[in-house]
């Protein structure tokens, strides 16, 4: 195999970075019959990851103008990838993936979702794999399972506390819930303060509770929770499971983005490294795709953050996608990265290569309305 197929693919929603990780030794299959040897892990990044922020187009002159305070700096907060794009230095654990050709990023991708930039609707559409909120019913991974003859419940696994639409549907799947509990992070803590702001009794108590909790050194829960999810997922994929999905939250960085991204970036790096190390030889047959519901604004806001946007990013050993540029006239509605490809393109090709599901089924039943187009460069 000469194709560098080990890539970390994180998929973005609107204009978000999407990246994928896969083994270069991945063998595409032509017959859709379970179980086969290939594995697919889908990670849903909840909160609209800032693709432009995490996989920064630092080579574009406009980047520094759009992100004067929160932009990444080469050799400091940014690791160069290809001379034009770089990644947040806190993903340094993924740099070996990149050097080995195992990490893929695709920019400027999105679901068909446009308009309100609502997290709930955006995530639902991302997981449902369709373009119409009114028609949301089941998840595309469940429909994909339905296309593979002899697929059984133990081949598919949803991991985590929340009920994943991605895996819901007619086909039975397995689910596992870890014992750890999530706590409000980042923007949601700010929202809680907003709610309490009008009520002096609550505001005072909440402020003191925050101080007490800061003293207690909380926040470690998120990291270990993701690590457990990844470890459990890899253990099951090493046995009977073939497709699995879990979530990483904390990406909704409206304020104080540089520090707010610390925890989710750490979780993402940890998830990918633990998946690879736990899978061992099975890593050679595995692709990981990480996706988020949409991107964020090209410009930073007044709170050193970014607001909901449109185009996102996906990655894989190279930076893919048709980069639309960051000039004023290049931006969607003058504010967001313009999406130039349907994000579903990537999981569709992954399903085709990994499990032999036919293009007609992918464009029809699994991702209605999608035109798959040309095979992406990172899929053999």
């Amino acid at each position: 195999m000469t194709e560098p197929t080990r890539r970390a693919i994180l998929k973005g929603g609107l204009g978000v970075a999407c990246c994928a990780a896969a083994s270069p030794l991945l063998t595409p299959v032509t017959l859709a019959a379970a179980p086969g040897e290939n594995r697919l892990v889908v990670i849903i990044l909840r909160g609209a990851m800032d693709g432009v922020g995490v996989f920064a187009p630092y080579g574009d002159r406009e980047y520094a103008e759009l992100r004067p305070k929160i932009g990444l700096v080469p050799d400091d907060t940014l690791i160069d990838l290809d001379g034009r794009f770089g990644m947040d230095a806190r993903l340094d654990a993924l740099h070996p993936f990149w050097r080995a050709g195992e990490l893929a990023v695709a920019h400027a991708v999105s679901t068909p979702y446009r308009g309100k930039r609502s997290h709930f609707d955006g995530q639902d559409l991302l997981e449902a794999g369709i373009g119409d909120v009114a028609k949301i019913d089941d998840g595309w991974m469940n429909r994909a399972l339905g296309q593979v003859s002899e697929a059984r419940a133990e081949h598919a696994l949803a991991v985590g506390r929340e009920d994943m639409l991605l895996m819901r549907g007619e086909r039975a799947v397995r689910a596992w819930t870890p014992g750890t509990k999530l706590s409000l992070q980042n923007d949601e803590r700010a929202l809680l303060q907003l709610i309490y702001g009008r009520d002096p009794l609550f505001a005072e108590a909440a402020a003191m509770a925050e101080e007490l909790s800061a003293l207690g050194g909380g926040g470690g829960g998120a990291k270990s929770a993701t690590g457990r999810l990844a470890k459990y997922t890899a253990d099951r994929l090493s046995e009977e499971a073939r497709i699995a999905a879990f979530s990483i939250g904390g990406w909704d960085t409206h304020a104080g983005q540089p520090s707010a991204l610390g925890a989710p970036l750490k979780a993402l790096a940890e998830a990918l490294t633990i998946l690879k190390s736990t899978l061992g030889p099975v890593w050679g047959d595995t692709m990981v795709v990480a996706m988020t519901e949409f991107g964020r604004t090209a410009r930073e806001n007044g709170n050193r953050g970014t607001d909901h946007g449109t185009g996102g990013a996906l990655k894989g050993g190279a930076v893919y996608g048709d980069w639309p540029g960051l000039r004023e006239r290049d931006l969607y509605e003058g504010r967001d990265l313009t999406p130039t490809m349907d994000v579903r393109h990537y999981p569709a090709w992954a399903l085709h290569a990994l499990f032999g599901i036919e293009r007609a089924a992918l464009e029809g039943a699994v991702f209605p309305g999608l035109e798959m187009g040309a095979r992406p460069g990172f899929i053999a």
């Binding site: 909840r46 909160g47 609209a48 609502s118 997290h119 709930f120 995530q123 506390r161 929340e162 009920d163 639409l165 509990k181 999530l182 706590s183 409000l184 980042n186 923007d187 949601e188 929202l191 809680l192 907003l194 709610i195 309490y196 702001g197 009008r198 009520d199 009794l201 609550f202 108590a205 909440a206 003191m208 509770a209 007490l212 909790s213 979530s247 939250g249 904390g250 990406w251 909704d252």
Partner: protein, 77 residues
């Protein structure tokens, strides 16, 4: 509850516990409740602007539910 009872438990620890409870409850919900519908169903007209905004703007469903459950409007009923 009565205002006197509210003062009794709206201490830092009491509130922290209440927020933690709301977070857990938000995560335990099996059905995919929409936080936008939940804030209407749970509070209706009582919901303040900030609470409604927060519940609908949260990044994940369980957070939207938790914010409603942790709100003063919900807890003063």
């Amino acid at each position: 509850g009565w205002p006197e009872e509210a003062e009794a438990w709206i201490t830092p620890q009491g509130l922290a516990d209440r927020i933690a409870w709301a977070s857990v409850l938000g995560q335990l919900v099996e059905a995919r409740w929409d936080p936008r519908a939940f804030v209407e169903a749970a509070l209706g007209e009582i919901a303040g602007q900030e609470t409604r905004f927060a519940a609908t703007r949260a990044a994940e469903r369980w957070e939207g539910l938790a914010l409603t459950l942790a709100s003063p409007e919900f807890n003063r009923r």
